[in-house]
Symmetry: C2
Subunit: 767 residues, 2 copies
């Protein structure tokens, strides 16, 4: 299905540039110009206030509200759900000049430019404000969030008077009074409000969860200005006044700090940290923090940059995606999660989904191992909640939530929350992927194995035996393709369950061999019986997989091939998204796919399938897929590339690389498609690079799309950095740092060292 | 599965007797001693107030509240739902004696007896009240609802002083202040409150729907008493005082009248009727109304009575069921509906379901044709709502609600409301059944055919073609067996859709032949095209029915035979009802049935299946059925009887005949199982009588269970009354009134007239 770009940004290799302001794109730009540093995130809204359409979102990872759900009377249904909430507007600033308020929805402005510098993480906005009395001032705003010291953010405003005399007044500080839009209310109580000429602070407490945020800021300015303090019920600010003549200018900076307390148990640490931060704050400066931040980015880009010669749009697009991935997660210091929209909007409630392990983790595992580990650590930390959830679904072991912030299931649609097993098997897949690259046995044998055992237990109790064939399988499930709501023997679910059983058994066997004592402790701790192992093995061996050896097709679920056919190209464009135009149940009664299901596991375990098998399944399922999930095109792009379907590959590739920059799904206004952004990275590395990481060794099959002169990327792999550079006729691999690595290049096992290994790109025939 | 009786009532052929009061049965008895006359219903609560556990429900047919449903954001979901609400307590009475309040939860009483007389519809309760000062008074309450003049009800209290002197005080009147329990609030606004010594009245308006009820009452008493008036915000009452000495007595009666206004369009008629009733009220007397009521019942019992010799429990049980059926619907004058619990409780919100046409209509069609017609007329009157519902589900034509009061869909579980097509095909079945017995072509050709066309249109757009076999069928549906939530090609749904197409085509053809003009008008009115008829025919012919000719089994849905098997006898009793103990989705992933599905249509269209086919399917499906629906045992009893499985037949029969009297499902406290009660009647007439009414002629195959000496029942059939009397060795059929009737008795076509036709009961071997 064709999707259309909605282009309005300038193309540049390292900058995202909006060269004029269009109010109809206000929210889209707010999303695109979001900044984040894992710890917190802030949308690109106008700090001076804006009376037009806007979502002034400022979020802190792990700070959420809770709302109760009306009782259904059925077992296993949720009674409450949690959602990331809008926190403090630490950019708060209100400016007036000669009695006129600055508001881009009302004022006349010229030469508007907004620029995000991907190399340094600084967002800049400048414009000339033409006042009704003829006065003209040039205003420039900069902001950034510190990657090195994540509790800090910087803001600067400079004003140059171009015409006339400017009597300037501005308030600056911290505002906790913003509403959470999807609830339509502010969800904070505030106290300890301080506002003094050079320091403001206040503490907000969430009304439903009693989490706390301490926000503080200092100001620096020149020349001297007159100052008053300003307080509101949820506001701490200072009021500045200054008169400038034509040719004069002022520079005003604010350093803000945010300290959060996620649970009552952290209160002591919170009080201590608040004190430290309040002391540290006056020692920070805008320029120092900014410089430190630029260094951070420089170091990270050395590993993470992807360079494309000959395709400026995708060069910009892929750098933007990589930038956002690091903004979302990088330090692994704060128990952070990856929301479906990162920290860039309220949509999906800031919940994390199974995409985290399946789409995002591969990026981190090759770019930032600590971040990758933190994803798995979060699942280990929330194992108690997953155990409770399994019990509420009449299962043993652990059932991981399909959507969560704190570990509790947050998806209030029971059909998703109760029928989707892919969050649980996704944890296994994430762990397996992490292990392939890092070989972190300490984590595997202490945390990983506990999760594996508990997930296997769940799978062994959730499934059942086919009463005719005696095969094991899963009934009443919803696989990754969410357009088949409640089906039996979903191929993905069954396949992944089998993989989980086998990986659990193998890990236990390895542990027994490597550390019998730890094995013994684990058996005792989890009360594992050897009968369980026998049962898992049998269930894995007898797992139902509907596969037709003749046409080499996997059937997505029992009866899929008989479903009524819908020609998806006959559906008119105005019917999308289907959920908004089709009766709910109508979506579920035909052979249309929302996103890949069979093709998904064929990619995840690519080494187990031949190109021929893959092609048969691609040719059957892709034409039935409408890609209503933003995660869908990446998978198809990668597989199309493997099959030499270069047109498909490039079409799907471009779509995900610039999904938000070109607003392909027309919903970037709600926030960025953070997990799809991870798919974009996979598109280059797994797609054109032909990387496969599920086998014993890394496999690479670099190719290059028409029109590109070259591209290159790096992979962090077991303490080495491998660089892959592909030009029109050859691929060149070398180690930038660390030991040499053995991998499979174009089917040949090679050892990559500091000296480049060069191979010509094989000529392929489209299949 | 075994169900257990909970016996606490006395057995008597015409009376329901509770011979002592047990507070733990308070709510069960309130349900059992409910009175109704279609227009209104009142639970058997204590009119004097009761501080123990109680559901003081008083309902008026068609008076309901509405509540909004939180928006889901998906198409075809409801935004509001409607529920029958608790109305005026017209029995309101508060009695004190020597300063002590009468409250059976607190006071000492002796000789408590409560009796419902099924022959006359009068409920009587008497006891001796032993006061703490030694005074003893005997109190007796009578009440009834008029079947002849449904707006009226009567109440009488008599007090005899047995010991001491009784200073009596009582308030009597009309109370609108009762809460609606499931909402936990009172849902009325009141005005026009009048209370005078011999007349009280007030008008209540529902807060959410602006429906109105005018309630009025008069009092008669002897000897003279002193009177004051008493008013509350929602109360109109009078206060009576009287002192009686030992041996003296008083009799106090109240006649109450209820007039309702269901919609704003009826307001003029309401005002007029209110005036008439206020004038009529003083002319009524307790004894006159009661006598008139007894006559009504006497006439109706002549047609409707079932006499059983040799089984007192079932004699009482079946009369109780027949009594409740007439209480629920009989006059066809008020556009009444049959709620799942009639007018006896809040459960199921007073909504009517598809049971009305499938279970209840057969009773009425053989007992009270006008009532049967009113059921279908309600569906015709609500065709506009059904059309809107179809549109909201992306279908053409009419989609009838699975639960409704006013015609709007009221089931807020989308999976039921959107996936169950049996309400729509049930209307077709009801119409077909009605036509077989009455041949009312006027209704068929004017109202019936419009419904048929619109239902066929819905079915032709809701279904789809199997992409492998090219067969037509229904995907993502829930059939009668609600333990299979979202399946493809449910056998019942497909079968009934085929029947609907064919019946619609046949009816159109008949109409064309009998009245081409009316046919032309109809084609124009509904914009029918001949292409539609061709399409329906094709879809009927190519309807998918999974039937294995070898073992003669219908598969309940695609893949049913492969579902994991659950041995239902291995489920412990404390797990029931499963919805309260099993995780919601767990119920749906095995081969367990809630209620019959394949067996259902094999009964409804019995003439199309051989005994052998039936037996195969019975033997397969019955052992998988847990009968969690109260409708299930009846169907199995009837079929078991046909198959000569006499033990099964009797077990299931007894269960439904005394379901409420013996509180088999332990939830009679919530109200009566009104539609199951209809099943009980079917058990005798279709089960033991072997009646089948789906063919060209009536078929009868009377048999008699062990232990019975004889039983007899009557059938109203095309203006004749057929009496069927079966004794241990023979069946005797004759016409009591009207013309002779040709029917099939034991496979032989016979003409029944005034002279009895006698045939020996054939000897059968259990199959």
């Amino acid at each position: 299905m064709k999707k259309y770009a909605d282009k309005y940004l300038e193309v540049d290799p390292w900058l995202v540039i909006e060269s004029s302001f269009d109010p109809s794109y206000a929210r889209v730009s707010e999303s695109l110009f979001s900044l984040g540093n894992e710890y917190m995130g802030i949308r690109g809204y106008f700090e001076e206030g804006y009376s037009g359409d806007s979502l002034q979102g400022s979020y802190v990872n792990g700070i959420y509200g809770r709302r109760s759900i009306p009782k259904s009377g059925y077992c296993g249904m949720l009674d409450s759900t949690e959602f990331m909430i809008n926190t403090v507007d630490w950019l708060y600033l209100r400016l007036s000049c000669n009695g006129e308020k600055l508001d881009l929805a009302q004022c006349k402005t010229e030469n508007f430019v907004r620029t995000l510098d991907l190399s340094s993480g600084v967002l800049t906005r400048s414009f000339i404000w033409a006042l009704s009395d003829g006065t003209k001032v040039k205003i420039c705003f900069d902001r950034f969030l510190s990657m090195e010291q994540p509790e800090f953010g910087g803001q600067r405003m400079t004003i140059n008077v171009l015409e006339g005399t400017a009597n300037l007044q501005w308030a600056a500080g911290l505002d906790f009074s913003r509403p959470h839009i999807s609830v339509g209310a502010n969800l904070w109580d505030c106290d300890e409000i301080i506002s003094s000429p050079d320091f403001c602070a206040l503490t907000g407490t969430t009304q439903s969860t009693q989490q706390k945020i301490y926000a503080a800021c200092t100001f620096q300015f020149e020349p001297e200005v007159s100052i008053e303090s300003k307080q509101g019920k949820k506001l701490a600010a200072s009021l500045f006044s200054l008169t400038l003549q034509k040719g004069e200018h002022t520079s005003f900076t604010k350093i803000a700090a945010i300290v959060c307390c996620r649970s009552i148990e952290d209160e002591d640490a919170f009080i201590k940290r608040r004190q430290q931060i309040a002391e540290l704050l006056p020692t920070q400066s805008f320029d120092k923090l900014k410089k430190e931040n630029a260094s951070w980015w420089k170091r990270q880009w050395k590993i993470s940059d992807i360079q494309i010669e000959g395709d400026d749009e995708n060069q910009q697009g892929i750098r933007y995606c990589i930038f956002q991935m690091h903004q979302t997660l990088h330090t692994a210091r704060y128990g952070a999660i990856i929301g479906a929209k990162g920290l860039t909007g309220e949509m999906y409630n800031g919940n994390t989904f199974w995409d985290t392990e399946v789409y995002c983790l591969p990026f981190y595992v090759f770019n930032n191992i600590a971040a990758a580990k933190s994803i798995l650590q979060f699942r280990y930390d929330t194992l108690p909640q997953a155990r409770k959830r399994a019990a509420s679904l009449d299962c043993k072991g652990a059932f991981y939530p399909i959507a969560t912030i704190s570990g509790l299931e947050c998806c209030d649609l029971w059909q998703h929350a109760s029928l989707q097993l892919q969050a649980s098997t996704g944890v296994m897949y994430g762990l397996q992927t992490y292990m392939k690259i890092t070989d972190d046995r300490d984590f595997l044998y202490h945390q990983g194995i506990e999760m594996l055992v508990e997930i296997s237990r769940m799978l062994a109790t959730r499934g059942a035996w086919n009463s005719q064939t005696g095969a094991y399988g899963f009934y009443s499930v919803m696989g990754p393709d969410e357009f088949q709501m409640m089906v039996n023997n979903n191929a993905y679910t069954n396949f992944m369950a089998k993989k989980t059983f086998l990986y659990t058994i193998k890990t236990l066997a390895d542990l027994y061999e490597e550390s019998p004592d730890q094995y013994g402790l684990l058996f005792k701790k989890l009360a594992i019986s050897s009968a369980e192992l026998v049962e898992w093995k049998e269930k894995a061996e007898r797992m139902e997989m509907k596969y037709d050896a003749k046409d080499q097709l996997f059937e997505q679920q029992d009866g899929f091939f008989s479903l009524p056919h819908v020609d998806i190209n006959s559906i008119s464009v105005d019917q999308f998204p289907l959920y908004s135009h089709w009766s709910y149940e109508r979506i579920y009664r035909n052979d249309m796919l929302k996103q890949p299901d069979v093709l998904m596991f064929m990619l995840m375990y690519a080494s187990e399938f031949s190109n021929e098998q893959l092609e048969q399944n691609y040719n059957y399922y892709e034409p039935r897929c409408i890609h209503e999930s933003s995660l869908s095109p990446s998978v198809h792009s990668i597989l199309a590339q493997q099959l030499g379907k270069e047109e498909d590959a490039y079409r799907f590739f471009q779509f995900s690389t610039r999904m938000d920059m070109d607003n392909y799904n027309r919903n970037t206004c709600e926030g960025l498609h953070t997990t799809s952004i991870a798919g974009a990275w996979m598109n280059v590395v797994y797609g054109y690079g032909g990387l496969r990481s599920d086998g014993e060794k890394l496999v690479l099959n670099p190719s290059i799309p028409e029109g590109w002169q070259s591209y290159s990327f790096c992979l962090l792999y077991k303490n080495s950095i491998i660089q892959v550079h592909t030009s029109v006729d050859k691929a060149e691999l070398k180690i930038l740092e660390g030991e040499s690595v053995e991998l499979v290049l174009y089917g040949e096992t090679v050892t990559i060292g500091a000296e480049p290994i060069i191979r010509p790109i094989p000529i392929r025939r489209a299949q």
